[in-house]
Symmetry: C2
Subunit: 379 residues, 2 copies
């Protein structure tokens, strides 16, 4: 057993599940499945990526087999472009070939792409079999793996095809982040900062302490954080996500606050062309712009916006709003899923740890925020 580990519960009425967080837990994956009531002998399909499989596959497999699970591994090429119905079909084919039954299990070992696809394949095989999420990117640990949103992309848009399907268990082992490319780590940190701003002042101050030690990189890597702070950030982020999910399992309302930074972030992703920005990088830019909008609307102070800015800088995330036509951004906002009856909904900060949802943001205010972001960001 690892020295320090913690369990957070996602308290859903129907089927609460644990999120285990601790260095080294991956080596005990099989044990934790047994502990969760999944019997030895259960057939398991483990879905993963080539890199993840190369670095961590053996450890997971060994642990599962040592506990008596009957495992088959399916390795899927990495990349967002794999997140489509054809890959789901490939997972279903493997599920059939491995003779998965209703009581069988899919284990998603990888980042958000693997988690979303494998989760959706589990949701739709035999009308839903169990899935266990073992996230291996920072983003998946704090966000994608928790909450039961699964799905794949449609040519018309991201995540249009999907289902809610809560995992049986989420197992987070920070040690696997040792092999994660640092750019991916930084992108995940954007979501950690998001949780701090939308609902966790304590997390915010933890992040500030690290940012003060090293303003240009204190939040940018696993090594800069150190294991103790990393464990703490993971715990607080997972707890924040778990709270929101428990309060609003199916995105009726509250869950919308998780979209902080995402409204403009998605516009950046859509307009910049595939592969220019990682999701978290775009979210960082979106939070910067949302903060400026909130300042312009008198919702929060310039001082707090500067504090947010310092965290994003310490995470080594891009600070320069990209050179995009503001009118194209406005059009892109209209096409977003978060539009209701033609009104764009913004999550805007009102203080460190609190946000509000507004659908009355003036296009002029948006244009001005984009201009501010560009001029400040310019070198």
């Amino acid at each position: 057993m690892p020295q320090e580990s913690r369990t957070i519960t996602v308290s859903l009425a129907a089927d609460p599940y644990p999120v285990l967080i601790g260095g080294g837990l991956l080596g005990d994956l099989g044990f934790f499945l047994l502990e969760r009531g999944i019997p030895s002998g259960t057939r398991v399909l483990m879905v993963t990526n080539p890199d993840v499989e190369a670095f961590h596959g053996a450890r997971a497999l060994q642990s599962l087999e040592a506990s008596g699970f009957v495992v088959r591994t399916l390795v899927i090429e990495a990349g967002e472009e794999q997140k489509n119905p054809a890959t789901v079909a490939a997972i279903h084919d493997a599920a059939f070939a491995h003779r998965l039954e209703r009581s069988s299990l899919i284990v998603a070992l990888g980042g958000g792409v693997v988690g979303d696809m494998a989760g959706f394949a589990a949701a739709t095989w035999l009308r839903g079999i169990a899935v266990v999420q073992v996230p291996t990117t920072l983003l998946a640990m704090v966000d994608a793996a928790i909450g039961g949103k699964t799905g794949v992309n449609h040519p018309g848009g991201k995540n249009l095809i999907g289902a809610f399907h809560q995992p049986k268990l989420v197992l987070i082992d920070p040690l696997v982040l040792a092999t994660l490319p640092e750019r991916e780590f930084r992108a995940g940190m954007a979501e950690v900062i998001k949780y701090a701003v939308i609902g966790d002042g304590i997390l915010f101050r933890d992040l500030e302490a690290a940012a003060e030690r090293d303003p240009s990189g204190g939040l940018a890597s696993r090594d800069a954080l150190g294991p103790v702070l990393l464990q703490r950030l993971l715990e607080r982020s997972a707890a924040a996500k778990a709270r929101v999910v428990a309060a609003d399992e199916r995105e009726g309302g509250l869950r919308a606050i998780l979209n902080y930074g995402h409204t403009l972030g998605h516009a950046v992703e859509n307009l910049s062309g595939y592969g220019t920005w990682l999701h978290g990088e775009a979210v960082g830019l979106g939070m910067l712009a949302a903060g400026d909008i909130a300042v312009a609307m008198g919702l929060w102070s310039q001082a707090d916006q500067d504090r947010q800015r310092r965290l994003i800088a310490a995470a080594g995330l891009p600070m320069d709003w990209p050179d995009l036509d503001p009118e194209a951004v406005l059009v892109s906002l209209q096409a977003d899923k978060k539009v209701r009856q033609g009104k764009v909904r913004f999550v805007l900060p009102t203080g460190v740890g609190s946000v509000t949802i507004r659908d009355d943001v003036d296009p002029t205010t948006i244009r001005a925020a984009l201009a501010v972001a560009t001029s400040i960001g310019a070198p």
Copy 2:
């Protein structure tokens, strides 16, 4: 409003929904959507088949548009072979093209194939949008449209890909059966007889009365039944299905009794080659054989088995067990989804209106039942 109509409620804890049954209701589809709280102006994608669209599409469309719904119709070729992921993708494409939102609706106007596919497409678009089932075959009215099982076939087997997704509303208009081919009607009657045997002695006696009037066709067509008895059969069958579904939404246990006649029925379907038997015809054969097994095991009387046999005959269903290698049947049973830990589970009648589930049926008993069925059935 039609002269005689009735509402049965599927009493699910989370989201109970009504099943409306009455001649002429299709012409009021739009009204009933409004009544169910789906606002005028909602975007609706109506999925249907060529024949159904030709006979009943205009009526449905007119009613929807008169109530202010924004409708687009997608016509899909008929046939079980269409029930696959490619057709789901086509429905998703239409959902995208018609700009369906989370609050939009899919209407399934057709038999079980349309209902299963459109229901699954709704379950997986934007992580689940509403579906309204408007069944147009007898089988879909009494079975497929009620209960939230949706899905499509995988090359490895029927309905392997799917999800539970309860409809918002089920609207059953017996008048649409006027255009249903009679063989399809007879196949649906097998499921009505199933409900009678597994749980509704009153329904059983209603069926017997019609069978006594005409032993070789009293249950075989809409005309033979007449509108009053048809309405009554639909109500009792829908109520039977609704009860079982409410007690066991996700097939944890009780719902298994709905598989009466289906264990051997599926073997007949699988071994006879595609298109030989309609599902309901195979279920009829399966009920005959299951009845013989129950008699052999001393679970129910030969007299009751004879009563069941008379109903199946009066429905004009096939009575001759097909010329299949009994050993092939036994192998096929093992491959069925209803196998648990290698044991085949049979639903067996213990009286008119009651069944039991057994996983200890001796292969010798099965072989004997198949021989009995063949010899009795032989001309």
